[in-house]
Amino acid sequence: MKTPENSWLWLYKIVAGLLIVALLGIHFVVNHAVAPEGLLSYADVANYYQVPGIALMEIAFLVFVVSHALVGLRSILLDLNPSPAILRTANTVLLLVGAFAIVYGVWLVFVIQSRG
């Protein structure tokens, strides 16, 4: 029996997708309000991260985008009817990649924020 892409995982993919759309919307509005000219230089970015709540929003965005992408990749892999061994390996690899991307992203946010 394969590890199922069960209802929760599917629901998560859908909900995360919708949250990404919502966060992108907020992102554009906030971005426009904070930096009407855009984030075109290091200084702009650093200033942007001084606004309260921005770091939290960007981290949430990162988490949802990374997880949605990786769950999506996994479901494409499932379409290829992988053997249980391949699927187990893929699960581990995707988890590690996701964890690394998120930890790295969060670290980056804190680095920028601390330099502001």
Partner: protein
Amino acid sequence: MSSERWHITLAVARYKQGADPHIQIFELEVDPDEYVLDAVERVWAFHDRGLVFRHACHHSTCGACGMRVNGQEKLTCITPIRAVCQKDGTLKIEPLRNFPVVSDLSVDMTSLYTRTESAAGAQVLNLKHSSLPFEKNLFPDDGLEHERLSDCIECGMCVSACPAALTDAAYAGPAALAAAHQTVVQKGLSALPAWVDSAEGVWRCHSGFECSAVCPSNVDPAWRIMELRRLVILNRVRCLFGLNKD
């Protein structure tokens, strides 16, 4: 069924066990109001007695004659030649996709039958449960209990048209999922087969809606798959909050 006569070319997929598949051309005189299946049968009767194809009822109640006509899944017994071909035109006839080919135009649909059986899909239904809920006043209703043969004729065309079924042999496919939904409509969620809520079940669907586009029999498998998703998720959420009475 008219006096009109068309000259058409039939390009028929041929395959015999142990030989290479190829396309064979047949030139035919046909009545454009006849059906594609009639043209195929004519090839067998007058050109090549070796042609293998599956057919039975010739009026869309049995689902045996699903084929791909010019790349598109068609129930050939009710597809008039006029609807898919021009005068002096060509009809390409191929077997359904996503099933092993037995020979020529005939495929082995064991997987479909096995799955609809495990979905407990009934062929005879109570008239009240036999339609889609958004259809109104379809049948005469005298208030008595009537039964009728179900809409799904298990022709396999939905599976042939499904993009997810192209690569995943384990996917239950639209027909079986539609049968599972029909079972739930009749008997309630407790009759839901366990495999519906799995990677090979209702979550493998990628909303291509191709099954409903080619279904010749009003089953609307895609709508039923979406309904199953809603029901399964709702049930899960209810269980989570301890609201389920089942």
